[in-house]
Structures are given as structure tokens and as C-alpha cells.
């Protein structure tokens, strides 16, 4: 059993434990979450379970796309935010809210994530290296951020503003199994595309020229990874809004355990992202704040310091993270 397999197994167990804890823990104290009375069944199986499952799937989608993009761009800071995918997905949703088509916000998020993927890949077709692709993405991301700020600026009333802000802060509150199925479907498509590109990602660690010399199809790898990341990010943002940081942090957290091979990092990163977001969501539910903290905020609050600590420890050992 390789280190990556051991890590995946441990993270799968951690994910199950986190999901089980998510059924148990919440603002309404439950003595026995498996009790068969109506109230308990509703709270546990119709509220907590879909919410926790959605959080896990969203985290897994973001972790997987982050790992794939870090491998493609050979940049440890890459994630779907850097390529503008999540920014465009959020922009799509925000446009739907701003023009009174809130019901179409998830669809708009998906469509805009794919538009960003097409723009990045088309403009980056002739790019000389991963840095150019990342720069195009940063430009797109800033553009989307500006347009989102404009929409907030021009919000027609406080109600619309509240909806827009809630979306941009990210949340899985009140999500149903339908939402979970939507993310799961796009995660499955995205994962299939990315896993097809795994060998290309592996070859890319040698550098583009060496990878091409050993027969890797770099153009195909690029398309598969970016479209796969767009499917994952679009699905996640469509359901949960913008949740940053998981895509950057999850691959780093598992790299120390599973090694630096980008192909072997994909599954553990997805599992780590899922477990991270379920834990963050449990924290959000239990914190006694006046209004529930948004998941995107909590993910950064919890993951940020942990990530900085790990990066600092690895740096002190002389390796990069």
C-alpha cells in the first residue's frame, strides 16, 4: 500500500467520522440522532444530512480542482480562484440575483464557470508556460471581482443586497439532497475529466518540454484539467456560493503525507477538502453567534492558521509545501 493509498484511507475514515459527527452536532441538542420520532428524523435526515453531504461534496470538488490546477500550473498557490473559475461562477449567480432571476442563479454559476474555462483555455492556447495561463486567470478573476462589486454597489434594495452578500460569503445552510445530487453530478464529470489527465499531470512534473518529449499530450491535459476544474467549481459554487481557501489548502495539507506526485494527490486532496468543509460547517453550526457564520468565512478562519502553520513547518525543514 503506497503512502497516497494510506493517506486516502485515513482521510476517507476522517470524512466518515466528520459526516457522522455532523448528524449529531447542531444547534438543537439531540440525545439520540437515530431516534425515530418525526422531529429527530426531520432534523437529522432532512436538514443535517443533506447539509453535511453537500458540504463534503463541495469541499471535495474544490480540493480536487485545486490539486489538479496546482499540478497543471506547477504553482502551489493555484486553485480555481486563481484561474477565475470561481469568480466567474459567482458572477453568473450575482447577475441572476441582480436582474431578478434568483431561481436561475445555480445554472448561471455553472454556465459562467464554463465560460471562464473556455476563455482561459482559448487565450492560453498560445501561452508559453503555466505562468501565462495563471496571469490570464488572475486578470479574469479581477474582472469578475470588479463586476460582482459593481452588482453589490447597484443592488436595488437591501433585500437584494443581503442575497448577493450571502451568496458571495458561501453557505450550505438549508441545502437539500437535490443540491447534493447537483454537486455530485458535476463532481463526477469533473473528476472523470481530471483523472483522465492524471498521467499528463504526472509527466508535467518533468517540465513541459520533457513531458512533450516523452509523448504527453499537453494540450489535451490542459483542456481536460481546466474543463474538469470548471465542472467541479461550477457545481460547488452553484450550490454553496464562493468558498475560497479549500482549493489551495487541501492539496498542501495532504502533500506532506501523500508525496508530491500530482496524480497521486488528486483523490487525497478531494477527501481532505470534503473533511475540511464538513468540520468547518460543524463549527459554524455550534458557534453561539447572533447570526450563523457563513461557511466561506469559517473555512478561511479555521483553515488559514492551520495552513500557515504547516507551510511554516515545512519551510523550516527546507522543503516547499
Amino acid at each position: 500500500m503506497t503512502a497516497a493509498h494510506r493517506t486516502s484511507l485515513a482521510l476517507a475514515l476522517l470524512s466518515f467520522a466528520a459526516l457522522a459527527a455532523a448528524l449529531w452536532l447542531g444547534p438543537t441538542p439531540l440525545a439520540d440522532p437515530f431516534a425515530t420520532d418525526d422531529a429527530t428524523r426531520t432534523i437529522v435526515w432532512e436538514i443535517r444530512f443533506p447539509r453535511a453531504l453537500t458540504a463534503w461534496l463541495v469541499g471535495a470538488a474544490l480540493g480536487l480542482s485545486g490539486a489538479a490546477l496546482q499540478g497543471l500550473l506547477r504553482n502551489p498557490l493555484a486553485d480555481s480562484g486563481v484561474l477565475g473559475l470561481s469568480g466567474f461562477a459567482a458572477l453568473g449567480a450575482v447577475i441572476a440575483f441582480a436582474f431578478g432571476f434568483a431561481a436561475f442563479a445555480p445554472l448561471a454559476a455553472l454556465v459562467f464557470a464554463f465560460i471562464a474555462a473556455l476563455i482561459v483555455t482559448s487565450l492560453g492556447w498560445s501561452a508559453r508556460g503555466p505562468a501565462s495561463l495563471a496571469l490570464i486567470g488572475v486578470g479574469l478573476s479581477s474582472f469578475a471581482g470588479g463586476l460582482i462589486a459593481l452588482a453589490l454597489n447597484l443592488a436595488p434594495n437591501p433585500g437584494a443586497l443581503a442575497d448577493l452578500i450571502n451568496w458571495t460569503l458561501g453557505s450550505v445552510e438549508a441545502r437539500s439532497l437535490d443540491h447534493a445530487f447537483l454537486v455530485a453530478a458535476f463532481l463526477a464529470v469533473g473528476a472523470a475529466l481530471i483523472l483522465f489527465a492524471a498521467r499528463g499531470l504526472q509527466a508535467l512534473t518533468l517540465g513541459e518540454e520533457a513531458a512533450a518529449a516523452i509523448g504527453a499530450n499537453l494540450s489535451r491535459t490542459r483542456w481536460l484539467v481546466i474543463l474538469g476544474a470548471a465542472a467541479c467549481t461550477g457545481g460547488a459554487t452553484a450550490v454553496a456560493g464562493i468558498i475560497g481557501f479549500v482549493g489551495v489548502a487541501a492539496p498542501h495539507l495532504v502533500r506532506a503525507l501523500a508525496g508530491h506526485d500530482p496524480a497521486r494527490l488528486l483523490v487525497p486532496s478531494a477527501l481532505a477538502g470534503g473533511a475540511m468543509l464538513v468540520c468547518a460547517d460543524i463549527a459554524v453550526r455550534l458557534l453561539p453567534t447572533d447570526t450563523e457564520l457563513k461557511l466561506g468565512v469559517a473555512a478561511a478562519l479555521i483553515g488559514g492558521p492551520v495552513f500557515a502553520l504547516i507551510a511554516a513547518r515545512l519551510a523550516s525543514r527546507g522543503g516547499d509545501s
Partner: protein
């Protein structure tokens, strides 16, 4: 005779439209409708904002249960009606429909006729149409009184919030200014950022200030409302401070702000 007896039997057998017995409201704007129209024992919980300084019926909220408004916490209260303006999930109606709990969407009405209709609709849904009728009668009387006392001229009025937002057309504040007998200086759609230079160059007859006396905004030195040039301009201008509670939500009780502006215009 027989058909009359049958009809009477049918009427007696038909239960009256059931009024909700466990109402939960999700934000402080929705709280105002519930506090104004429902009996206390109909209210299962209000939002955590129901006792804010700018909650219009905050005194009535004392002693009532509060909730953060998450799905789990709301459903644990076994509501038979959820009332919302902007609180809770954006797709609240769809979300609560999964649990067979109806959602009453209130507020967000930028004119008095719309606010009036909204109030009557809420009163019917909450099971007290007579309370809605009483409040709308009062609103109609106060609007008529303002119209009767308005002068032929319509002086230029600007609404300015401490955050630097100025009300344009299509906002409840625009309707408030019109009801007071004034003319909103801003004709832009919706809310605009404080046009400081324009305001200093062509000052309006009256500036209606919102939230300048509010604790949280008063202590924030970075708000546009604290700009030294604006402070100087306000010191030399005619201003009226509007009670925060009347303008924090778009609803019928904004008539109180209109009366305050009208009184300031008459005094000039």
C-alpha cells in the same frame, strides 16, 4: 326552505380559515409585521434583531423568544408560518415548502400604496384582517393630512444616510419625500453615493438625515457622513433627523418619517 337549511349547514360545517398559531419571523423587518398584526401567543419566535434600537415595535418584542433563523432552529420551533423580508435562505419559499411550511414574504415595497397592500395581505395571512384595516385607515388619514397641509411649492429635499447613500427614484424614501410635500433632488434610479460636490454647489432646501444619531454609525469616523466638508455643509444647511426605526425597513410606518420632513418644511 330546504335549500336554505342546507346552505346554513354547509356554512356552519366549513371551518373558518385557520390562523397561524406558531409564527416564526426571520429578520427584523419581518418582525415588525408580526409584532404589529399577530397576538403574542401566535408568535413562536422573532429574529435576534427584533430588539434593535431601530426596530419599530421593539417594546412589543420584549419577552418573546428569539431565533438565529437557521433552517434547523426554525423547524425545531414547529412553525406553521414563516415570515420573511430578507432573512434566511434566498430561496426560503422553496426550502420551507419541502417541510410544508408556508412562507409569507413581506416588505420591500417602495411606495405607500404598495406598502398598504402588503400590510393588508400580511394581516389576512396572520389571521387579523381587522388590524390591517385599522393600520391602513390610520395610514390613509395621515397621508391625507400631509396632502392637505402641503404648500403649492415642492421644496427640494435630499435624503442622506450616515453611510453616504442618497435616495433616488423608486425607493420608499422617494415616496416619503413626495408624501411630505417635497421634491426629491435625486432623480437617479435607486440609491446613489453621496454627490458631495453637487450638494455643496446647489444645496437642497432641506436635508433629511438617516442614522446619523445611531450609536453604531455615530462612533464610526470613517463613514462618508463624517467627512469634514459634509459636516461643514450640514452645519450651514437646514436638516431634519429622521427616527431610525421609521426608515430601517420599507413599510407603512415610514409615514412617521414623512411627517417629520413635512413638519421641518412647514417650519422653514
Amino acid at each position: 326552505m330546504r335549500w336554505l337549511l342546507c346552505a346554513m349547514a354547509l356554512v356552519l360545517a366549513t371551518p373558518a380559515a385557520a390562523e397561524p398559531r406558531r409564527i416564526v419571523s426571520l429578520d427584523y423587518c419581518a418582525d415588525q409585521f408580526v409584532l404589529a398584526l399577530a397576538d403574542r401567543d401566535q408568535i413562536a419566535a422573532l429574529s435576534r434583531g427584533s430588539r434593535r434600537d431601530d426596530s419599530f415595535y421593539r417594546a412589543r418584542a420584549a419577552g418573546l423568544r428569539q431565533t438565529r433563523g437557521t433552517l434547523e432552529e426554525v423547524l425545531a420551533l414547529r412553525p406553521d408560518l414563516v415570515v420573511r423580508n430578507w432573512g434566511g435562505p434566498w430561496d426560503a419559499e422553496t426550502v420551507y415548502a419541502r417541510f410544508h411550511v408556508p412562507v409569507l414574504q413581506v416588505g420591500g415595497t417602495p411606495t405607500f400604496p404598495e406598502a398598504r397592500a402588503d400590510l393588508l395581505d400580511a394581516a389576512r395571512t396572520l389571521g387579523h384582517p381587522e388590524r390591517g384595516a385599522t393600520l391602513t385607515r390610520d395610514l390613509d388619514l395621515r397621508l391625507a393630512r400631509l396632502r392637505a397641509n402641503a404648500s403649492a411649492q415642492t421644496p427640494a429635499v435630499m435624503y442622506l444616510s450616515a453611510g453616504g447613500a442618497v435616495a433616488g427614484a423608486g425607493t420608499m424614501m422617494d415616496a416619503v419625500i413626495a408624501a411630505a410635500g417635497g421634491r426629491n433632488v435625486r432623480t437617479d434610479a435607486s440609491w446613489v453615493v453621496l454627490p458631495l460636490e453637487h450638494m455643496i454647489e446647489t444645496p437642497p432646501a432641506l436635508i433629511a438625515l438617516g442614522f446619523f444619531e445611531h450609536g453604531r454609525t455615530r462612533s464610526n469616523p470613517w463613514l462618508p457622513g463624517q467627512h469634514p466638508a459634509l459636516r461643514r455643509a450640514l452645519a450651514g444647511a437646514r436638516t431634519v433627523s429622521l427616527p431610525s426605526a421609521t426608515i430601517a425597513c420599507e413599510a407603512w410606518y415610514a409615514i412617521g418619517a414623512a411627517e417629520r420632513i413635512a413638519a421641518a418644511l412647514r417650519a422653514s
